[in-house]
């Protein structure tokens, strides 16, 4: 039966174990160095994950402040709070921050923190690459916001359509800031994606065959593949095309010399549509474990949920033209994208039906995480339906680029990603910090958030259909758009209040909330077998997994792995499909090279805006970093044993 809640893991040991000595040895072996230097050289995936989560959340707050300013300006017709130039920088930064600096990094951060724990590994596959990804992301954050405060914030929209964003119509450096920001966030996302894929394929605990990995991990794995195929498109577009047009006069988008403004849209949306599923699918990965735990039953349709995730990911790459229905693209082609855009609702629908069925046949505990799941169903389904409407070319030609789309996108992103994310915070906060978030404040947060989101965004459907386009810094009173805009702005205020409650709850609970213990909710995943927070080495003994819900297994004894080194950082590599123990890998110690190399990336890419010489300097400095990274990677302490070749028939 399920493990009792609120207790530390069983302190039963194997014969020959000395718990205190072994855990102290391993803790000292795997932990980050102390002090400021330790903070700079950290490679523990939990340290990196935590700082990613915190930084991404700060970006959520920054994006929220930008939204608040926008809503304050639009609350009244012909308002003069923000002029057009300020407004354009702010709405561009709002979109850029939310999409590039909050949503994707937050989702990858959850993966970085939890995937190794959930698959029963000591660490993530490439710890230094992980740290490098975070530092590169941080360089991007600082760069964008310094430029925004210096009145050089990007102002051509988060989507930067050409030729408006090209050299002729956006002189100066504002759009260059955007283009290089995209480079930094793309590198960070790809680093995280490679890490998630390789950790999931090669470092799972023995017995955790692919059909036993948790749905959270499936979602992260699928999304990691999506990142691999989507991010290069936006990086190609922004760095190799737009930045090149602006800096060295290439003509990718210059119609006068054979370029094509629509090429940008194809490249951008080829990334941009999968991007929203990259944000959405991990949230679906949060929903399953929350539903399972608070319905006290295994989820209905594990296989269907996995297949739905994979199907959605494939479909997501076939939808991008629906952002371009108002352009002169041949109509036959457009129809294909209508069909795909409608059909993608099916796998998502399947997932929602499975979750409702799970709750219907379970025994529910309406704690805050589950409330956010219910809020997600209510809000996201609305957005999904307006999405099906927008799939119609004829209707989209009316609603495209209006506040109807603003309403739709916020319903699906806030309802579909942010609500599950808040649920995930309440659920996993105890695992990260060792303390529970307050339930009462949590419920206030939930209700205010749900009400605020619907009051803010529902009127926008009507505004859009009544003629209000997007990305306008003001509107005339005679249009009649004033009253609904005011309502929307009041809703935004409510959202802000609810998020403030969450921040208070988080800070208060982190400092002195109720202690959580290893498994406060009675959950089934491996991460709940580790202490809260997990020690630097994650698991004293890697567990051997015998089912999809390890902690709910009614088995008498817990099989584990022994023999991992206690004198060097050693991880277990298992076979790809069946997770049989295959080899050992020595993992790196703390290192300054990831930070150094990220700073070199900064010099190179930020420098490219100003002069090619800085690019050369940056590349030369990077070479030193790569050499240092490689050199420190050639250390091997302890005995080495070379594998004998094994026939492929024995499994990958």
């Amino acid at each position: 039966m399920s493990a009792p809640r609120g207790q530390q893991p069983a302190t039963v040991t194997l014969a020959g174990d000395d718990l205190a000595r072994d855990s102290a040895t391993l803790e000292a072996l795997w932990r980050d160095c102390p002090g400021f230097w330790g903070w700079l050289t950290a490679v523990d995936h939990k340290s990196i994950g935590k700082r990613y989560i915190i930084t991404a959340f700060l970006m959520f707050l920054a994006g929220g402040i930008e939204a608040a300013l926008m809503r304050a300006q639009l609350a009244r017709p012909e308002n003069t709070l923000l002029g057009p130039d300020q407004y354009n920088q702010i709405f561009t930064t709002h979109g850029t921050t939310m999409m590039f600096l909050f949503a994707v990094p937050m989702m990858t951060a959850m993966g970085i923190y939890f995937v190794p724990l959930m698959v029963g590994a000591r660490s993530i596959a490439f710890p230094r690459l992980n740290a490098f990804g975070y530092w590169t992301y941080l360089v991007g954050v600082v760069f964008l916001y310094v430029c925004l405060f210096a009145n050089t914030g990007p102002d051509a929209g988060w989507f930067a359509y050409t030729p408006l964003s090209g050299p002729a119509y956006s002189p100066g450096h504002r759009v260059d800031v955007w283009a290089q920001l995209v480079t930094f966030t793309e590198i960070a996302a790809l680093a995280a994606a490679v890490n998630v894929i390789v950790t999931t394929f090669k470092m799972r605990a023995p017995g955790m065959s692919l059909n036993r990995i948790p749905l959270f991990v499936w979602a992260q794995l699928v999304v990691a593949f999506m990142i691999v195929f989507a991010m290069p498109a936006v990086a190609t577009g922004s760095t190799l095309m737009l930045a090149a047009d602006r800096a060295v006069n290439t003509h990718w988008f210059n119609a006068a010399e054979g370029g094509d403004a629509l090429l940008w849209q194809h490249i951008f949306w080829f990334f941009g549509h999968p991007e929203v599923y990259i944000i959405f699918l991990p949230a679906l990965g949060f929903v399953t474990p929350i539903v399972e735990t608070f319905s006290r039953r295994k989820v209905v349709g594990y296989t269907a949920l996995v297949l739905a995730n994979i199907t959605t990911a494939f479909f997501a790459f076939g939808l991008w033209v629906h952002h371009m229905f108002a352009t002169p693209i041949p109509e036959l082609g457009q129809s294909l994208f209508t069909a795909a855009s409608m059909l993608i609702a099916i796998p998502t629908g399947v997932q929602i039906f499975c979750w409702i069925a799970t709750m219907w046949s379970g025994r529910l505990r309406l704690a805050t995480p589950l409330l956010f799941v219910l809020g997600f169903i209510f809000t996201f389904v609305n957005g999904g339906i307006t999405g099906v409407m927008l799939a119609s070319v004829a209707f989209d030609k009316q609603a495209h680029d209006t506040f109807f789309v603003v309403a739709h996108l916020h319903y699906v992103l806030v309802g579909g990603a942010v609500m599950p994310l808040f649920g995930a915070f309440y659920y996993w906060f105890p695992k990260i910090t060792g303390r529970l978030l307050g339930e009462t404040l949590g419920k206030w947060h939930f209700w205010l958030f749900l009400i605020g989101v619907n009051v803010a965004f529902f009127p926008m459907h009507v505004l859009g259909l009544n003629g209000m386009p997007r990305r306008v810094y003001t509107y005339l009173a005679a249009t009649g758009w004033g009253p609904l805009n005011l309502v929307a702005s009041l809703g935004a205020t409510t959202i802000a209040l609810s998020v403030l409650l969450f921040v208070i709850n988080a800070v208060w609970s982190w400092m002195g909330g109720a202690p959580a213990g290893a498994d406060p909710w009675g959950s089934s995943g491996l991460e709940w077998a580790a202490a809260s927070p997990a020690p630097s080495y994650n698991f004293l003994h890697i567990p051997v997994v015998t089912s999809r819900h390890p902690l709910w297994d009614p088995i008498a004894e817990r099989p584990v792995v022994t023999g991992l080194s206690t004198t060097r950082r050693e991880v277990l590599i298992t076979t790809t499909f069946d997770a049989r123990p295959d080899s050992l890998h020595q993992h790196p110690d703390a290192s300054i090279w990831p930070l150094y190399l990220a700073l070199c990336m900064g010099v190179t890419f930020i420098g490219s805006i100003f002069t090619p010489y800085l690019v050369l300097v940056g590349l030369a400095l990077s070479l030193i970093g790569i050499a240092g990274w490689g050199w420190t990677g050639t250390r091997a302490s302890g005995p080495e044993r070379v594998a004998t070749p094994r026939p492929v028939t024995e499994g990958l």
Partner: protein, 314 residues
Amino acid sequence: MHSFFHPGSPHANAVAHLWWWMFGVGGAIWIGVTLVALYAAFTRRGSGDGLVEPPAAEHRRIERVVSAATFVTILILAGFLVYDFSVGRALAAHPQRGLTIDVTGHQWWWEVTYENPDPSRRLVTANEMHVPVGEPVQFTLRAADVIHSFWAPSLDGKRDLIPGYTSSFWFTADTAGVYRGQCAEFCGLEHAKMAFYIVADPRPRFEAWLKAASQSHQAPADPTLAYGERVFLASGCATCHSISGTQAFATVGPNLSHFASRSTIAAGTLTNTSVNLTRWILNPQVVKPGVGMPAVPLDSGPLTALVAYLESLK
């Protein structure tokens, strides 16, 4: 009229019809799913630690329900797909060629041209156009600088104006009236203030308008207006604007030949009154910061005459 909910053309009507169906069915699904989830949330609450493990028979029943719900979803989506394709095909049908209006998008105004085989009768205007009621009108769309989007919600969906591309679409206004539209693709600083008006007139009134608008102006007889015309030519206005029948024929800015017949100034930003026009001329940057027109600091004498002249250009 500028609302999807007040269609003024068969196209807009057909799309609104499609949408109301989607709204009805979609709304019902939304409410239905919410109610089911809420019902589960309220009636399935319980405390205690043990896991719930439904027996195999219940499992099969659950699977059947989920499959059925999925199947219904597929049917509904397929239905809407078919309906949507039929609407799309109907909208794509091309009529006989009728009136063609060329629209070129600029930052932040609309250049409108009615071509004519007789070049002296060619009409170039800005931001406001007339169409005959009940007849299909074709719009040919180009962009002079960046991407814009031509959208009059009561009349039809929007079409983007893309530099390097010439595209066209058509619709029929079946109700007389004034339809407002606004640029619907972010095009820079004053994207928010780039509106236009389509006036749908019965055929005779449309022809009268077209005839009057295509005519060149004579020199004004009234001395104040003549003075105003001289102020216009002497104050640099002719660097950007044209007025037919004068020596101003620049095409950088909107054609002002029949400025007084337009209901707004600066692409729908101000109503066209003498007071507003005075304000605009003195400093357009206050009304529409970043617009291409500089401040024209005139003394009140010349300014009054200039405004009177422009307001005489019907």
